[in-house]
Amino acid sequence: MSDLVQPVAADEEAEFISRARRSAQWRAFFLRDKKALIGIIILTVLVIAAVFAPIVAPYDPNGMDFSFMLPPSLAHPLGTDDLGRDLLSRLVYGTRISLFVGLSTVAIALAVGVFLGLVAGYFGGFVDTVIMRYIDLQWAFPNFIIAVYLVAVFGTGLSNVIVAISLAYVDDFARLTRGMVLSIKQEQYVDAARTLGASEWRIMWRHILPNAVAPLIVQATVSVSYAILAEASLSFLGLGVEADTPTWGLILADARSFFSRAWWLGVFPGVFIMVTVLSINFLGDALRDLFDVREVKDAG
């Protein structure tokens, strides 16, 4: 009886140790890598600002009064725009849209791309050819240009922009997943699972995908920053969200005629974009070092 109890206890202990080691690894990761720490802190602040925007923002983002184009002051830390709206409040609300677009587009692109890559890489043959011909075609063009093409087809507006940016990033994830699947497929544990009678889907989800997670996490992190930049660019060009939504790109576009008189309207929205993208890039870079991932596509 005691013979039987022993291994279970040892198992639990081993799991406890490995869990402790993993959390120690993460702690060491943040302590050693200052960039990761800075990135996480800034992102946490931004997420809090986005979630609690009505509390954090000092004014109503669309509230107009006669305080037109006031330079930064105590009452309006980042100044006001041509309609007397408080810039800081508008930028805080803009954080919501930017983070939402960044995360949702990457979630969709990840889901679709991983599915296509997994199916193409695992089954090979005709399915692979059909999927990869399309992915290669998309790969020949920069993601942002694809997003512009797709907005040309779908039209503007928040949901169309999300669909356009998501589809534009599918090729990155599909190619990455397919490449991983092709190499993991050769591993003995996949053969072992098949010998034990595991179904195709089970092998794909339980045995292959978990081993491809690290590079996908790095790619997803980097893609969030590019998606945020893409949304800002589209909004700036007038191809983004609806006209009165406060987003960083649109605030910049609206302020175009006033830059010479009101520099704060041209500077601060960009600072918000830059700081957000920078902290995501810091995090992505640190994760890349942590997982020792190379060769992640690095361009929008």
């Binding site: 087809v153 660019s233 700036f236 910049l252």
Partner: protein, 315 residues
């Protein structure tokens, strides 16, 4: 080599055909009808029907596709649906030199900054200088290109009044007018590009500096600059050129946005203007030409790569 070239060119032609076909069918699948756009959504049913017949839009889609494709092969991209109905090919031809000027100047500025920065970073690894370059590169990658353009306009055009804020002057009006209009947008486009190239050169330089032939060159007592520039740099550039296709794509994407900041009527502005006006022939034409530039640039990068590194086997 010839065989490889032919295969790559054929591939490029097929990609262009696929893009043209996709664009044709996707733009026709959209709910917004170009004819109603033309009549500003005000036309009555008979007027719409008349115009549809005039443009052949009442014919089956495959007939339209065939006709359109035949015209395309003759370089006819159709006409803008607005105003004096200018030929799209003319609009595009007028825009092309502007975009190419901007893109090449951006490329030049970016490389001139990135190559020395990358080399210094690698040679003085972990020094203060290296950290500074790294931080600047990170900032460069994180700044939206259109915002860099805006800040440059605020500083150098509005406040200092050194350079014009918007517009474009063709090279035929003289070198300085051309250059003065392009410097600010070129810096805006080139910033992110420069950051990427500098990071790549740094990492590939670090790899090369570890190799034996560099040690040998040093052991022979060659000067440091000679080891770095003559022995290490050419080999360090090879991996940089492989990813150049991706980097060039970024540069072109930047051009499309930045042209709109500086009101340069290049392809990017034509494309975005076309989308905003629902001017489908213009959108179609601009997409095709922008796409052709990418496909062509990638082709050149691939060929260049095989020329530069004789170790590459073409099959």
């Amino acid at each position: 080599m010839t065989q490889y070239l032919i295969r790559r060119i054929l591939g490029a032609v097929i990609v262009m055909w696929a893009v043209a076909t996709l664009v044709f069918f996707m733009l026709r699948a959209v709910p917004g009808d170009p004819v109603s756009a033309m009549l500003f959504d005000l036309g009555d049913a008979s007027a719409v029907a008349q115009l549809r017949a005039k443009f052949g839009l009442d014919q089956p889609i495959y007939v339209q596709y065939f006709k359109w494709f035949m015209l395309l092969l003759h370089g006819d991209l159709g006409n803008s649906i607005y105003g004096s109905r200018v030929a799209v090919s003319r609009i595009v031809l007028e825009a092309l030199p502007r975009t190419l000027s901007l893109a090449s100047l951006s490329f030049l500025i970016a490389v001139v900054i990135a190559v020395p920065a990358g080399i210094i970073s690698a040679v003085r690894r972990y020094s203060k200088l290296d950290h500074t370059v790294t931080v600047i590169a990170f900032l460069g990658l994180s700044m939206p290109d259109f915002w860099v353009g805006i800040v440059l306009i605020i500083v150098f055009a509005s406040h200092l009044q050194w350079l014009p804020a918007i517009g474009y002057a063709p090279l035929s009006q003289g070198l300085w007018p051309w250059l003065s209009h392009l410097i600010l947008p070129a810096i805006a486009v080139g910033t992110a590009f420069s950051a990427i190239i500098a990071r790549m050169i740094r990492s590939s330089m670090l790899e090369v500096l570890k190799t034996e032939y560099v040690s040998v060159a040093r052991a022979k007592g060659l000067m440091q600059w000679r080891v770095i520039l003559v022995h290490a740099l050419p080999n360090a550039l090879i991996p940089v050129i492989t990813v150049m296709g991706i980097a060039l794509a970024l540069l072109m994407a930047g051009t499309v946005v930045v042209e709109n900041v500086f009101a340069i009527k290049g392809l990017g502005r034509v494309l975005i203007g076309g989308i905003l006006n629902r001017d489908y022939p213009v959108v179609q034409g601009a997409i095709l030409v922008v796409s052709a530039i990418f496909v062509f640039a990638n082709l050149i990068v691939d060929v260049l790569y095989t020329v530069i590194d004789p170790r590459i086997r073409l099959d």
